[in-house]
């Protein structure tokens, strides 16, 4: 069995890389008891802000590890270009699959692969979005392998979540460990809601100058509700549930106290299956009957588009490099993880005979469940999974075991130890360009040796710092919080930083003073 030595993002043979040298100095100044105390501060801050994640029906804070992950300028350029390229190709793919289907005639991807996908929604066939965009928001999961190569692990093109934590993680870090920010010019992540809103507005059906954009949520009981409310608030748009909307004459309206208001763009965080009881699950109470036809009539834009799941289907994943070549005539900038297509008999044979060395994943399902890691599985588990695969090879893919890179993380006892990470950057497509948020959600497996990092399985996250190339890029500065300022009551005048005429700022009025004044007058 091959052993892989994972690369560490910070350390080479125990010594910090140049990129993180300054940070490492600051990190090592902090003692374990300090880390534990800072972790408590962090938890308190998160609880007070109400930043939670619902796991098994219980709300708990999403633990952001206090050691950031850093990405340098050059590497970010590479990632950004690769993500843009990938999204462009997948947009063209979706347009083709739900339109002319030229790629089948050219035998780029087997037609069976697509038409047997449970996410291939025939009701989306022929729908042409107003500005052509179907992947308004995407989250491309990326890992670094044991050779240092960054690879795409998975595409998420339906309703990728986590971006609210990206924004909140930055604020939390600035609040709890502002000293780590010294000497680093970090690109700001705060633009995300504006960029998202701009993309949604650009996607509106051609009609109004001020399109009515809403965020559609399944409701307060959904695990990602925090994010839905967060984004709606930051974009300044209404957060609605299915029952707030209705369709009439193929148009979508919102029930308000003023009456009915037409809706033009719906940023929906509801799965396709629950979106429209006419075309999908008829018993869904979360959706709006008629919404798909309203989109078809171009009276409303649904973001992300219906049927995107066929493009982030794990069974399609091995073909994405080919799609990049076919649609863009380019070689992929960020490679895939090598994947075996089990519908090819040779690949299937190889995989079944080498299960103990490989990782097999079911095509359906998410959150890391159902993955079998060969070198860690028992003989019985391997036999079981071999049976399942033979029964239905289309439902599985196999990949060589990758040693995900690690990153120093504060662990339970307050010491710093390396843990495996992956990375989810987010991209927004406004029809003219694909903008990649400079930052993203680095997810960390909090248990030593664990490689599956999804938050639904108890992983944590890290603030991700993309360094600024120049002063002109918007940068992140730690906010000075109120308790770090001197108590304003102690100094009567706070000097201004600019301007000739500076008015002295006096202390706040106090009841006692007023009583004394009145007393003096009456004395």
């Amino acid at each position: 069995m091959a052993h892989f030595q994972a690369l560490d993002e910070f350390l080479v043979e125990g010594q910090p890389r140049e990129l993180v040298a300054t940070l490492w100095q600051e990190l090592t100044k902090i003692t374990p008891p300090d880390w534990i105390s800072k972790a408590k501060q962090r938890d308190l801050y998160l609880a007070m802000q109400g930043i939670t994640f619902t796991l098994s029906g219980v709300e708990r804070p999403l633990p952001v590890d206090l050691v950031p992950r850093i990405i340098d300028v050059a590497e970010w350029k590479h990632l950004e270009a690769g993500i843009k390229q990938r999204i462009k190709a997948l947009e063209l793919f979706l347009d083709d699959v739900y339109g002319k289907q030229q790629l089948f005639a050219d035998r780029v991807v087997p037609k069976s692969l697509i038409v047997t996908s449970e996410h291939f929604h025939r009701s989306a066939h022929g729908i042409k979005p107003a500005n052509g965009v179907r992947i308004h928001v995407s989250g491309i999961d990326i890992v670094r392998d044991q050779h240092g190569v960054l690879r795409v692990l998975e595409d998420n093109l339906r309703s990728p979540s986590g971006v609210s934590y990206v924004l909140e993680n930055r604020r939390t870090m600035a609040h709890v460990v502002p000293e780590l920010f010294n000497d680093y010019s970090i690109r700001s992540v705060d633009e995300y809601p504006e960029r998202l809103l701009a993309a949604l507005v650009a996607a509106a059906p051609e009609r109004k100058s001020h399109p009515n954009v809403v965020v559609l949520t399944p409701g307060v009981h959904n695990s990602a509700h925090f994010e839905h409310a967060f984004l709606a608030r930051r974009m300044g748009v209404e957060l609605v549930e299915g029952r707030d909307l209705y369709c009439k004459n193929n148009q979508v309206f919102m029930r308000t106290t003023k009456g009915s208001e037409q809706v033009d763009v719906i940023y929906r965080r509801i799965d396709d299956d629950f979106l429209d009881p006419i075309h999908f699950k008829p018993d869904s109470v979360l959706g709006i009957p008629g919404i798909i036809n309203a989109a078809r009539a171009n009276n409303v834009t649904i973001a992300n588009g219906v049927g995107n799941g066929v493009a982030d289907d794990k069974a399609l994943y091995p073909y994405v490099p080919k799609l990049i070549e076919y649609y863009l005539n380019e070689t992929p900038i960020i490679p895939n993880v090598d994947t075996y297509d089990l519908q090819l008999p040779d690949a299937l044979d190889f995989v079944l005979s080498n299960l103990s060395e490989l990782v097999v994943k079911p095509v359906a399902g998410s959150g890391g469940y159902g993955i079998t890691i060969g070198p860690r599985a028992s003989k019985d588990e391997l036999k079981e999974v071999a049976k399942e695969i033979s029964k239905n090879p289309r439902n599985w893919i196999a990949q060589p075991l990758i040693a995900l890179s690690t990153c120093p993380t504060v662990v339970e006892d307050g010491t710093i130890a390396s843990r495996h990470i992956d990375f989810r950057p987010f991209a927004v497509n406004d029809g003219n360009e694909v903008w990649v948020l400079p930052g993203g959600l680095t997810r960390v497996a909090l248990v030593a040796g664990n490689v599956v990092v999804n938050s639904s399985q108890g992983g944590g996250s890290k603030d991700t710092w993309v360094l600024a190339a120049s002063e002109s890029e918007p940068q992140s500065y730690p906010e000075i919080t109120a308790d770090e300022l001197e108590d304003p009551l102690d100094s009567e005048i706070i000097p201004a930083t600019a301007g000739p005429d500076v008015l002295p700022i006096t202390r706040m009025q106090q009841q006692e003073e007023q009583q004394q004044q009145i007393g003096a007058i009456h004395a």
């Binding site: 089948f104 035998r107 087997p110 037609k111 069976s112 038409v115 047997t116 025939r122 009701s123 066939h125 022929g126 209705y246 369709c247 009439k248 004459n249 193929n250 009881p277 006419i278 008829p282 009957p289 008629g290 036809n293 078809r296 009539a297």
Partner: protein, 275 residues
């Protein structure tokens, strides 16, 4: 020789309590094909509803409409005027080897896979023994009526092929599903066709009570239509409306409604030969 047929298909719903809203999609419009020309089509809905038309994934003409005023009665009348002719067959002489080509199986995968309604059944004969797939079609066309008796009421709209097969009774929907199951099991791509059947004498001007009907199109080098329920060829008396993998893809009226207890449905189809 072409016929000109007028088809009237009316569906009405009566409810005991009010329906507050109802959203529907009608697949009742005949389509233009090399063998069929649609002169006119009209869909009337009572209470009045505006109609949104589009073509779905299978090329079927869909008319979507909703009624959002409370009602206890809903009537949909589809009126078509079509010119039909006997289908001209292409090259239907594929061999069994031709059908086993990977590329074909890939292209026509949707018509080779089982579905919930077209599920596996136990077939008492071996179609592959026939010399050519075309021969297999002819054989099957004759054999089906020996396997199942036409008996309305023995199955429901939700019955899969196996149910009718076990009961040895069913209606055209079941004949079609069972045929599809058998054909797909031997690698012949086959699709469900819905439409209307003119059952009259052919006399001009005579209004004949008809039915929604279904039959099969099998790919044996080209798409070949045949009618296993009646065993006769698909000719001018068949008006084609929709194609799909099974009944679900082509159901004449599907939708959702809220409220409306005790729904009673009445369907009437009539055809008249105009020329």
């Amino acid at each position: 020789m072409a016929w000109r047929l007028s088809v009237t298909h009316s569906t009405s719903f009566q409810y005991e309590s009010e329906v507050s809203a109802s959203f529907n999609e009608a697949r009742m419009t005949p389509i233009n094909t090399p063998d069929q020309f649609v002169i006119s089509h009209d869909l009337k809905i009572n209470p009045f509803a505006s109609i949104f038309s589009y073509n779905d994934y299978f090329g079927t003409a869909v008319k979507a409409f909703d009624v959002q005023t409370p009602h206890t009665y809903l009537e949909i009348v589809s009126q078509s005027l079509v010119e039909t002719s006997t289908p001209v067959l292409g090259n239907v002489n594929a061999s069994w080897d031709d059908l086993s080509r990977d590329e074909l199986a890939d292209d026509l995968r949707e018509y080779l896979d089982y579905t919930a309604l077209v599920n596996p059944i136990e077939v008492p004969f071996e179609l592959r023994l026939q010399k050519t797939p075309l021969d297999a079609i002819h054989f099957l066309n004759k054999a089906m009526r020996e396997q199942i008796t036409y008996a309305p009421g023995s199955t429901s709209v939700y019955s899969p092929a196996s149910e009718a097969w076990e009961k040895r009774a069913g209606v055209c929907q079941d004949f079609t599903h069972a045929s599809l199951s058998i054909l797909r099991s031997v690698g012949i791509p086959a699709r469900y066709v819905s439409g209307y059947l003119y059952n009259g004498s052919g006399q001009i001007g005579e209004e004949v009570v008809g039915e929604s009907h279904s039959w099969v199109e099998a790919w044996v080098g080209d798409w070949l239509p045949f009618d296993p329920t009646n065993g006769n060829p698909v000719a001018e008396d068949h008006v084609l409306v929709a194609r799909g993998r099974d009944y679900h893809d082509v159901s004449p009226l599907k939708g959702i409604f809220s409220g409306g207890r005790s729904r009673k449905i009445e369907v009437k189809v009539s055809l008249t030969r105009i020329a």
